[in-house]
Subunit: 240 residues, 2 copies
DNA sequence: CTCGGTTTGTTCCTGCGTTCACAAACTCCT
DNA sequence: AGGAGTTTGTGAACGCAGGAACAAACCGAG
């Protein structure tokens, strides 16, 4: 999922755990809004949709914030996870590419509420320059370097067509952005130390389609070790 | 990532492999458009951003479609992967929830080009009824069951607010939809046999933020085994 | 036909992630 | 104060994923 090769972060929190911390945070927020002040690992795990043993092991990587025989203090645990992820400090985000998806991202309320401020919108299309989206004016992508420097952009969201994604990424990285969220359907290559996460909508659908096919009654295995079943490729495979 | 518990699909293709097949497909399409007819595992792996040994192992799960000493026939391999994923047959998709994100999804060109047809748009807000998005009229979510039956919907995309997501999902499942792509920031519970995949934008950003914090020079470890470093929680932890 | 060069398919191995199971620790009741 | 009941934190076991390395298979040259 990420360019990071090591499976562990410096202090020793496994990647798999890091990926679940936001889940726990969301579950804790929901519990808190319902007035719950203390919860067991069982309750929290069920709210987050994971196994309770896994939850306890994940949390143990952060420290011992629970009380045996009682459970976890919701408010405290929420704070501890927030701090661990680094949400106690706001981070500035620039969105590059304001097609349908880019505009939706710019308007996405879930960012702001979690400490991410969209501070700049950039696009290559002159027709979009000056257009207002989510209270921000779209600026030319030519100003990317200036924007990153002036507005202290920490995270770049790439929502451009696939063709432009690599160049935009290169420029973001050169300007000092070390965290990139990529929505373009392409593989980005970045230097060591830069973190790329990708979200690919059509890939998710294709994975669903795969399982869908397995369920369908019309599905019958077509690949086997018998030559007859190999069909069309037999020519290539067995030709001399 | 998915509700599926077993790591292997019926015929024995590991989940991790399934998740990479669409990547290979995209790389093959790119090669094909460049006029390449044959490619080595090394070349294809580099285009897909993975290790070549892993690629060969992944492909070996589908069958023996390569030729030793030569490589893979691009067109044939492309077809084989398409067939394995089930892209040779189009699938109908319904999008529920037409906020910013839902509209962007309805317009997303990457769906259609990969054999996914968005055939219906549903929302609960009467102000959106009849509005045209991507050549489709938005219909009331009350008609969900009718739409699923009439249009043979195979995949449901949930892009509603978190509060409505579970109810919409329940209705989709009851209507016979067994594949769900969830964009709402909530955990969906579904019966056995239903496949849910989730895409959570703010979680991706939070994971980036975590690594970002580890890079930042102001970062200093605050958790340790020494009581003094535990700070604020000492009260709860050590109190009687 | 044979031999060297190339590339796949597969085997082995290492390491991570997940789950089970239990000891340690805390609360509450008597 | 003591014991029963709960719940956390963790040690151990197991399974899967990823990578290295090699044998099998193919092509082309001589």
């Amino acid at each position: 999922m990420t360019a990071r090769t090591s499976a562990e972060s410096p202090r020793g929190i496994p990647e798999a755990t890091v990926a679940r911390l936001p889940l726990y945070l969301r579950a804790l927020t929901a519990l808190s809004e319902r007035g719950t002040t203390v919860c067991s690992s069982e309750a929290l795990a069920s709210a987050a949709g994971v196994n309770s043993a896994m939850l306890r092991k994940d949390l143990s990587h952060l420290g011992s914030y629970g009380t045996r025989g009682v459970g976890y203090d919701v408010a405290n645990l929420r704070y501890q996870i927030s701090r661990e992820i680094g949400l106690t400090q706001d981070r500035n985000v620039a969105v590059v590419g304001l097609g349908n998806l880019g505009q939706a991202l710019a308007n996405y309320a879930g960012f702001r509420s979690r400490g991410f401020r969209v501070v700049s919108l950039l696009d290559a299309d002159p027709r979009l320059f000056g257009m207002t989206v989510a209270d921000l004016q779209v600026r030319p992508v030519a100003e990317l370097e200036a924007v990153v420097a002036e507005l202290d952009v920490a995270i770049g969201v790439v929502a451009t067509p696939a063709e432009a994604a690599q160049e935009v990424t290169d420029r973001l990285v050169a300007a000092g952005v070390a965290s990139i969220l990529n929505f373009a359907p392409t593989v980005l290559s970045v230097p060591e130390g830069v973190d790329v996460r990708k979200v690919d909508l059509s890939i998710e659908l294709q994975i669903l389609a795969f399982h869908e096919q397995r369920r369908s009654p019309s599905y019958a295995p077509t690949i086997s070790t018998t030559p007859a079943a190999r069909g069309a490729v037999a020519v290539q495979e067995e030709g001399r």
